[in-house]
């Protein structure tokens, strides 16, 4: 657990709802790192611009964040290395000698974090016992001295601050047990629940937490995570494992997906079920490795040689990330196609407190049609629905060929057979439930069309708008392919004013909407500075249209 994570866990355990958003540069160590926790009395799905309590560990933190401070914001800082003289009046200053406290307990400089963490939790009224538990859980496996040191420093920070007057107090809004989890980990959790036992991939920000999750739990849960030589091997090993009957996934970002593209076509041609998670970041090329963007939509929709159907799920929040991980394998296996989960840095690496995941009512694992093997078994038999009963390697003698093949799986260049096979792959009637999710007022002044991670900030903007007397409706697309044409067309037709909000410069989703519905949405809010959408900015945009 990082210091930031411990802060939000402590708030969550106290009964508040939390949302964490972190920013960090593409460096091994150093640079300006921030961790923002939003603490609220209701479920929250996005960060906001205004900071109510700033823990400034250095002068940079003041310089870079002074414009984000609320009028009465609190600032926790050590006067030894942070100067607050130039700040406007009205702020609540909470000086604390972090370095002196650490020195008193002969701790390392890094323990200033622990003192500051504990001091700020004291300010907002979190019980020390919660901090104590977190420290024990977090450092318990290490040297007992480390636990002791941290506890001493935490206690000192807590005692120093606990009687100070502060306007920020934690709300104990729920007694329910919650979990604080990131989008990436939620996808991985859904995948594990869905029987995915094999992940092969190459680390790439911001998707790497998925490989770490599988590696960490591999021995206990009966999984294999193979860190391969490159993304090409990553996707291919997953195809091999799937061919042998194990639900398999590769996870990467846009750059790694570029390397996987040829093999995506292999999965399609051999009709090997495959799940890919693509967590976007700003491109082209290396782009902004640790920042966010939604510019790989068209890429994942069209990538690979040839024509073939695929499913693309674009979760909008933590629950939908779990849902995507849970459902993607069913779609991949039922239709024997690639299913892609498209997320991004913002959703993938942000943490939200949610109730522990439950599988939806009626959900079950659907491995699709598994063949009863007889001597006349044909792996690529032409069927009415295009899906041929599957065999796993070891269960039957059959060929799976990247060349065009006949019903037996043997190589063919025959024109008639080619036509039949192309049509067989194309005609699969893919059914994805609840592709569009609608929120807000039916009589709305403005209808926002979004997809993927933009959902959270739009829902938060909806709350802000209510206070301004503006009614917003959100039409959020969870499944981009197969595209929910009827739903989107109906909502476009009934919208008083339609707005598209997405995180890329090319208005890619707007283009997709136009392609499928024939409707050009005029008002577009596009963002491509690497930062996520903020509810305040969304509201401002809506007020102006």
């Amino acid at each position: 657990m990082t210091t930031g994570t411990m802060f939000s866990r402590a708030c969550m355990r106290s009964g508040a709802y939390t949302f964490d958003y972190s920013e960090y540069p593409s460096l091994i160590r150093g640079g300006h790192n921030t961790f923002q926790t939003r603490v609220a009395d209701r479920p929250v799905k996005s960060q906001v611009k205004t900071v109510n309590l700033l823990v400034a560990l250095n002068q940079n933190a003041i310089a870079l964040h002074k414009n984000e401070l609320a009028k009465d914001a609190g600032i926790v800082f050590d006067p030894e290395n942070v100067n607050v003289d130039d700040l406007p009046e009205g702020l609540n200053l909470f000086p604390i000698p972090l370095t002196a406290i650490v020195n008193q307990y002969k701790g390392e400089k890094i323990m200033r974090n622990m003192v500051a963490l504990s001091a700020s939790l004291a300010l907002i009224g979190v019980d020390f016992s919660i901090i104590q538990d977190l420290i024990k859980e977090s450092f318990g496996k290490k040297n007992p001295d480390i636990v002791k040191h941290n506890l001493n420093n935490a206690k000192a920070g807590y005692e120093f601050m606990k009687d100070k007057e502060s306007s920020c107090k934690i709300s104990r809004a729920t007694k329910n047990k919650m979990i604080s989890i990131s989008g990436n980990e939620s996808i991985a959790m859904g995948a594990v629940k869905s029987g995915c036992r094999f992940v092969s991939t190459y680390p790439m920000t911001p998707s790497t937490a998925i490989m770490h999750f599988f590696a960490k739990h591999s021995e206990k849960m009966g999984l294999i995570m193979k860190h391969t030589e490159d993304e090409i091997a990553g996707i291919l090993m997953a195809i091999g494992a799937s061919h042998a009957g194990v639900r398999s996934m590769a996870a990467t970002s846009g750059g790694g997906f570029s390397l996987m593209v040829e093999a995506l076509g292999l999965a399609a041609m051999t009709e090997t079920p495959l799940v890919l998670t693509v967590a976007s970041r700003p491109g082209p090329a290396t782009g902004l490795p640790t920042w966010t963007e939604q510019s790989d939509l068209r890429f994942v929709m069209h990538a690979a040689q040839g024509d073939f159907p695929r499913v693309i799920l674009a979760p909008g929040d933590i629950e939908e990330s779990f849902e995507a991980g849970l459902q993607a394998f069913n779609y991949a296996e039922k239709y024997q196609i690639p299913a892609i989960i498209l997320t991004d840095k913002f959703l993938g690496e942000s943490y939200q407190s949610v109730p522990p995941f439950k599988t939806p009512k009626g959900w079950k694992i659907d491995r699709g049609q598994i063949a009863q093997i007889t001597s006349s078994y044909k792996r690529y038999e032409i069927t009415e629905d295009g899906v041929s009963p599957r065999a796993f390697a070891g269960d039957a003698i059959f060929g799976a060929f990247s060349n065009e093949h006949n019903c037996d799986g043997d190589f063919t260049e025959d024109a008639e057979m080619r036509t039949k096979m192309a049509e067989k792959r194309q005609k699969k009637q893919i059914v994805v439930k609840d592709r569009v999710r609608i929120y807000g007022d039916d009589e709305a002044d403005v209808t926002v069309f979004s997809w993927g991670s933009t959902k959270g900030p739009v829902l938060e903007a909806m709350e802000l708008a209510k206070k301004e007397g503006i009614k917003i409706k959100l039409v959020h697309t969870f499944c981009v392919l197969p595209f929910p044409t009827e739903d989107i067309a109906r909502e476009l037709a009934s919208a008083k004013k339609a707005v598209i909000i997405e995180g890329n410069i090319g208005a890619q989703f707007a283009g997709v909407v136009r392609e499928f519905t024939g409707v050009e949405v005029k008002h577009k809010y596009l963002k491509y500075d690497g930062r996520p959408f903020y509810p305040e900015d969304i509201l401002k945009f809506i007020q102006n249209v």
Binding site: F198, H243, R247, A393, A400, F401
Partner: protein, 259 residues
């Protein structure tokens, strides 16, 4: 032909035997032999074969490529598969030319050779794949000759008995596009490594693997016993990954870590 005979001599269950190939001339092999086949992309044979073996280590996995597939476009996978020592037999049909694309130089084409892509002669020196294999960590490295099927068959049988990654480079003249390295050219040069050759001597094996030209050795250049990749995974010690199945997986313990 040699593989067919080896499969029959080893009495492998064809259903339980998977032959993974790439793209090129050799990789059409799954068509000619009665086992289960998976044809991957050009250069991408080994990762698919590795995935299959990791998912179900009870399968007998063979992989086959040409020299362009294995030592050209697939080099990165080749090197790392050998480090991993996943238990499989990899047969490379080395004809020193790209045949399927009508006769370009391959990584094993000798310097100076004239081909369609090198009308003035190959500028690079040729790869010596067996020494690359030994230094990369392959635990069984051998060379056979398509002109001596019984010997090649015996190499495949030995390779299959070996636990770990076994490479067999097969000198297999391309009668259409390689007019230099012909059956006759090889017949004048190949000889079998004798009883006195010690395949466990790694440094000597590297030296032997550098031999090319007037004398080309056939046989097992190098072998070592070390745990396979699968041996190192306790989660598949008692059952295969596939045998774990997909039903009733409890994630409540995993969620507790986020509370």
């Amino acid at each position: 032909m040699a593989l067919k005979q080896a499969v029959s001599e080893l009495q492998l269950d064809p259903k339980n035997t998977v032959l993974v190939s790439g793209i090129g001339c050799g990789p059409k092999m799954p068509l000619w032999i009665n086992v289960s086949g998976f044809q991957s992309l050009h250069g991408r044979t080994l990762p698919v074969a590795s995935g299959i073996k990791l998912a179900n280590h009870k399968l007998d996995v063979f992989a086959t490529s040409g020299d362009g597939d294995a030592y050209g476009i697939g080099t990165c996978h080749f090197i790392h598969a050998m480090r991993r020592n996943i238990d499989m037999v990899y047969i490379v049909h080395d004809n020193q030319v790209y045949g399927l694309t009508q006769g370009q130089a391959s990584p094993t084409t000798d310097k100076g050779t004239h081909t369609k892509s090198t009308p003035f002669g190959v500028i690079e020196v040729a790869t010596r794949p067996l020494s690359l294999a030994i230094v990369s960590g392959a635990s069984f490295v051998a060379r056979g000759f398509a002109g001596d099927i019984p010997h090649l068959k015996s190499l495949i049988v030995e390779a299959h008995k070996h636990r770990g990654f076994a490479l067999i480079d097969v000198l297999q003249p391309c009668v259409t596009f390689n007019k230099t390295n012909t059956y006759q050219w090889f017949q004048e040069r190949v000889y079998k490594l004798g009883e006195d050759y010690d395949p466990t001597d790694k440094m000597n094996a590297i030296k032997t693997a550098q031999m090319w030209g007037d004398k080309i050795p056939l046989g097992i250049y190098y072998r070592e016993n070390r745990p396979t990749y699968n041996d190192e995974l306790p989660q598949i010690a008692d059952k295969t990954l596939r045998e774990y199945g997909v039903d009733n997986i409890d994630i409540s313990e995993l969620m507790r870590e986020y509370s």
